[in-house]
Structure formats: C-alpha cells, structure tokens
Symmetry: D3
Subunit: 75 residues, 6 copies
C-alpha cells in the first residue's frame, strides 16, 4: 500500500479552476482559469513552466498566490 505524503505550501491562497485561455510569448506566458462563481484568475508565468507542466486548455489546475501579493479595494 502506498503512503501519501501531503506537500504543504506557505502560500495561503490556492484557487482551483479550469484553464480557459493560454497565450504563449517568448519568455513569459499568460494563463487564465475559471474558478467558478463568475471569477477568473489570470497569471503570467515563464514559458518554460508552461511547457514543462504541459498546461492545456480545459484541464484543472490551481492558482497559488502569496498573501503579501494581495491588495484590497473598497468603494
């Protein structure tokens, strides 16, 4: 029987969604996911990461965002 070892990451925000858009550039690439409830997350990662992870439209991935990168707005 296999033992599952969970990986813990200090980055507090993990938002799961379906890839709806990929724009590859030369150095960077833009990936957009739909996390439900009318919300989308757009991220810019390196093109190398995009290719190594073989991210494809339609599959489910998770956005990871460090708490210190989050701002808030209020009307």
């Amino acid at each position: 029987m296999g033992t599952s070892v969970a990986l813990q990451i200090s980055g507090r925000n993990k938002l799961r969604g379906r890839v709806i858009n990929i724009t590859p550039g030369i150095v960077t690439a833009e990936v957009e996911i739909d996390i439900g409830n009318g919300n989308r997350i757009t991220g810019v990662i390196t093109k190398n990461s995009l290719e190594e992870m073989q991210i494809q439209t339609g599959e489910e991935i998770t956005a990871l965002i460090k708490a210190t990168s989050v701002m808030f707005m209020k009307e």
Copy 2:
C-alpha cells in the same frame, strides 16, 4: 446629473468577497475574505491601510492581485 468616471486598474485579478477575518499586527494586518464557491482569499496589507480604509468584518471588499504574482500548480 453627475458623471461617473470609472477607474481602470492594470492589475487583472479582482475578486469580490465578504470580510470574515481581520488580524491587526503592528506594521501589517491580515485580512481574509470569502469570495464564494468555497474559496477564500487572505491578504497581508499595512496596518495603516486597514485603518484608513476602515475595513470591517462583514463588509464587501475586492481583492486585487497582479497577474505576475500568480503561480500555478498541477497534480
């Protein structure tokens, strides 16, 4: 009649939610919002911003996240 001038911000990710937790420190403060669909966003801002914006538990605010701050994970 008043004219409404919309403010545009280049930060691509705007996620609206209800404040569920506030932890003030000395320099920084942690704010957690519930954006629905089982997702929460935690942000660390300055305590000065928390006080000037008078952020309070229960009210609706919007998380703002720059696309270059977003990573992706895939199993």
Copy 3:
C-alpha cells in the same frame, strides 16, 4: 447632482505621471511614466491591460505599488 464614491486601495504608493514610453510585447508590455522632479517609473503589465486601458503616450496615469514590493538602498 451626482454622488461621487471614492475608491480606496490598500496599495500605499500612488505616483501620478505622464506616459513617455510604451513597449508592447506579446504577453507583457513596458510602460514608462515621468512623475516629475527628475523621477521616472517603469512598470511591466500585461499587454491585455495596456490595450483595455488604451494607455497612450502623453496622457497622465498613476503608478500603483504595494509597500511590500519596495526595498531600500543606502550608501
């Protein structure tokens, strides 16, 4: 008469200036503004933001920088 509702943003640094340079790439774009007093601010945003906001050379925009992104140097 209209009612003006101010938008508050936790990002502490807002520096107003005139756009002096725009370099569009594929995924990202570089925008440079002159904030006076001999100071310039260069930012890299997504090309999508550049186009949606229709940022143009000569117009006035505001740089927004989160306090946790600022370092200091001293001789």
Copy 4:
C-alpha cells in the same frame, strides 16, 4: 502499491535547506534556511502558515521563489 502523483509548481526556484532561525511576529514570521555552499535564504510568511506547517528549527524545507521576483546585481 501506491501511485505517486508528483505536484508540479510553476514557481521556478526551489531551494532545499535546513531551518536555522524562526522569528514569529503577530501577523508575519521570518524563517531562515541554510541551503549549503555558504548561502542562506530568508523568507517572510504569515504566522498562520508557520503554525499550520509546524516549521521547526533543524528540519529540512524548501524555499519557493517565482522567477519574476528575482533581480540581478553586477559589479
């Protein structure tokens, strides 16, 4: 037999080291690791992450750094 599913993360820099210093604050906490070769990495994470991950002096953990957060200096 169990099946191991590797988690892939777009953050390109993963540096493994031993925890040599922990300074807990109220909202944030500083963690320092020794990655060998005379190099150390200091990170500031939320105190909540520190406690949930039960990070302790002497254990091995991995620093994760997004490529867009890296600058370079040259003499």
Copy 5:
C-alpha cells in the same frame, strides 16, 4: 587613486528621498520617504534590514522597485 566600481541592479526604479517616518514591528518595519514633488514612498522591509542598515529619520536613502511590481491606474 581609487577605482570606483559601480554596482548595477536590474530593478529599474530607483527613487531617492529623505526618511520621514519609521515604524518598527517585530518581524517587519515600515519606512516612509519623501521623494519631492509632493510624492512619498512607503516600503515594508524586515526589521533586521532596518537595524543592519541603521536607517534613521532625516537621512537620504533610495527606494528600489522591480518593474514587474508596478501597476497602473487611469481614470
């Protein structure tokens, strides 16, 4: 005669100003500088950096900001 070796840093934004406010916390510290022309920059650094650099109110230091950390707003 001495030879001056300039240090080059990829971080594109260097804004020189006078320290007008310092708020030390436990892990982090807030430093505010006046860069002239009515502009101020607030940064959050580690308290260790504040102490090692012996940053003091009234002295001149330089804010360093990576271009990928800059957003833009437009009305």
Copy 6:
C-alpha cells in the same frame, strides 16, 4: 588611496552565481545562474536591464530576492 563606500540593500537574499542561460524576449528576458551545490536561480527581468547591464553567459552576477517574495514548502 580610494575609499570604498559599501552599498547596503534591504533585500535580504543575495546569491552569487555564474550565468548559464539567457533568453531575451521583447519586453522581458530570462536569466539563469548556477549558485553551486546543485542549485540554480532563474529570474525574469526587463530586456532593457539585460542590455544596460550587459549580462553575458559565463560571468558572475548576484541574484537579489526580497524576503517577502519567498514561500516555503514542506513534505
């Protein structure tokens, strides 16, 4: 005799290494250095910085990373 004035930077992580890979794009450029002990650091900077600093494969440069940009992972 010359007087050396050390430049202090609040960014806590300085990792010296040899440039092993450079990928220039239009706006950004990826630079990879080998810091020894089997560790590599990849950074994305502006293409303008790459050119002004004349970074070349084989030379030694230093990666600079702010502590608030560092996350930690634990198995």
